[in-house]
């Protein structure tokens, strides 16, 4: 589990004090930011760059998964929760029961890349083919134009927002259904677990955020909505013009309408300066929002 904690503080005495209520304190202002492992790299980069913008604000970034971040927001222990999926209605309900009204911000777009070993001859797949592969109806690469070898399925753990998104949009094809991952699916505890297994296993297939994929070591497949649609490779361009079919917004949630330092930080994240970092990390910047 990726639990990267980077406390970016200006060494001010107030920065690391646990006794501080989340939010503002006098002088040094601390922001607690926690959640999605998909977002953690870009969140760290934002926090680091923001130190130049406003040295009086220190931002502590923690990973752990979308569910963890949202749970912390509900419990009132973080200021900003990072999530790679939208909050579920029951999560919003339990937040409101705690007197917290979550406010949603889209901060970046992520394209999910489908990756295989570079030696795998398969170049492209459709969403229905992917669904059949991940539910175990297709078990051999030769059924989709590859070698005669069993397909090794890789997935993130079921508590990851990426997993939930993939389940809903790919395994179930965006429809109501009872389909779930085949039992032989390997659940990897991290994004890195998936890329490293794909690099060494010629028969593995996995999915990972575009920001985590290295095209030199993993082959990125072109994906089509169905067999009659054109195939697209994931990129900043195909994700932002919505031609690549497996792209999703990434969110930050605050407890109530943000004010003060938190509001300034979120405004900066969604400004061109903040979105430039999004592109550097490998995600897709959002359109200019008012």
């Amino acid at each position: 589990m990726l639990l990267l904690t980077l406390l970016l503080s200006g060494c001010g005495p107030a920065a690391g004090e646990a006794a501080d209520p989340p939010g503002e304190s006098v002088g040094q202002r601390a922001i607690q930011n926690k959640g999605s492992d998909t977002l953690v790299n870009v969140a760290l980069a934002w926090a680091e760059a923001y130190r130049q913008v406003d040295p009086t604000v220190s931002i502590a970034v923690t990973g752990g998964g979308s569910g963890t971040g949202i749970a912390s927001l509900i419990n009132g222990t973080v200021d900003i929760a990072n999530a790679s999926r939208a909050m579920k209605p029951e999560e919003i309900e339990s937040a409101q029961a705690n007197g917290i009204n979550p406010v949603e911000f889209v901060v970046a777009i992520d394209a999910l890349a489908i990756i295989v070993h570079p030696d795998n001859p398969v170049e492209r797949l459709t969403i229905p083919q992917l669904a059949a592969i991940y539910t175990g109806r297709i078990t051999n690469w030769s059924q989709v134009g590859g070698n005669d070898a069993d397909i090794i399925l890789l997935s993130r753990e079921s508590n990851s927002g990426t997993h939930v998104y993939f389940l809903e949009e790919v395994v179930r094809g965006g429809e109501e259904s009872e389909q779930i991952f085949a039992p032989q699916t390997l659940f990897m505890p991290s994004s890195v677990g998936i890329t490293s297994e794909v690099r060494r296993n010629p028969n593995a297939i996995g999915y990972d955020g575009l920001g985590y994929v290295d095209p030199e070591h993993e082959k990125i497949l072109a994906i089509a909505e169905d067999e009659n649609s054109p195939y697209y490779e994931p990129s900043v361009e195909t994700a932002s013009n919505e031609t690549y079919p497996i792209a999703r917004p990434l969110y930050m949630y605050t407890a109530g309408e943000p004010t003060g330092a938190i509001q300034e930080y979120l405004d900066w994240i969604r400004s061109p300066a903040g979105q430039e970092i999004v592109a550097e990390i490998g995600f897709v910047p959002i359109e200019e929002t008012p």
């Binding site: 589990m1 998964g65 963890t68 090794i152 079921s158 779930i180 039992p183 659940f187 505890p189 296993n201």
Partner: protein, 306 residues
Amino acid sequence: MTTVERTNGGQRWQQRKEWLIEALIRVSGISAIALIALIFIFLLREALPAFGQLGASDFTNSRWYPIEDKFGLAPLIFGTLLVTIGALIMAVPVGLTTAVYLGEFAPTWQREILKPLIEILAGIPSIVLGFLGWIALAPIVQRLGASTGLTAFTGSFILAYMALPTMISIAEDALYAVPREYRDGALAIGATRWQTTWRVVLPAARSGIVTAIMLGVGRAIGETMAVMMVTGNAANIPALAPDIFFQPVRTMTATIAAEMGEVAQGSLHYNVLFTVGIVLFVITFAINSIAASVVGRSKPRPRASL
């Protein structure tokens, strides 16, 4: 204390002191039992709501997929047992032969080098071994022909490695505790050194050796991080085939570790994870009880025969 000091008052003081010491010893003795009871009660309290909402058929489901409320425990129990049995198959022969060599055959200078080295092995953090398994062992397993390097066997191998130091140290201590007269007697009536070891020393050290194996099992069943890194975590029951150990599995410990951090406290999934904890607890308890009864049965020790 001399007899002169043993006045009436002195005796009373002495009695009180002894009573106090006895009471302290009794409390610390009982506290172990109380702690186990408390752990069990706590597990039960957190797990009970799950039994209210789920029936036996939910737990005997063949799928574990908690985000869709599929809580079949079978794949997890199977995964834990497979990895543990694999570890034992590897660790018991190696551990016992090492202990016998160290205790009965090795010259003193070799013992002096080997024993500290084995103790260093015991000190390696499990996460380091897990990491080694992930980057070094898994690719080898894959090259040997498995469809992926992340298999039950990879986990067993790492666990065997982890259980070995405990097993060797305790088994060797048990051999050491066998009175010298046993060996002398056997040798005096003409037994060879090997016959003495196999027929006299090993049976005499039987209970200590069973304890060594049990502690090894305990280490293997309870290990979490290393196993999570190398077994692939697929909640699947592999088909009964020769390659059963070379399939990915998901253990109970890895499931609790991977999922506990993310569940909402008090949710059904949360309660079921405590149920998994109870199952783990019951399995370890059962194994230890069986081991205890095996050890108990060996008393009085059978007469060694040549």
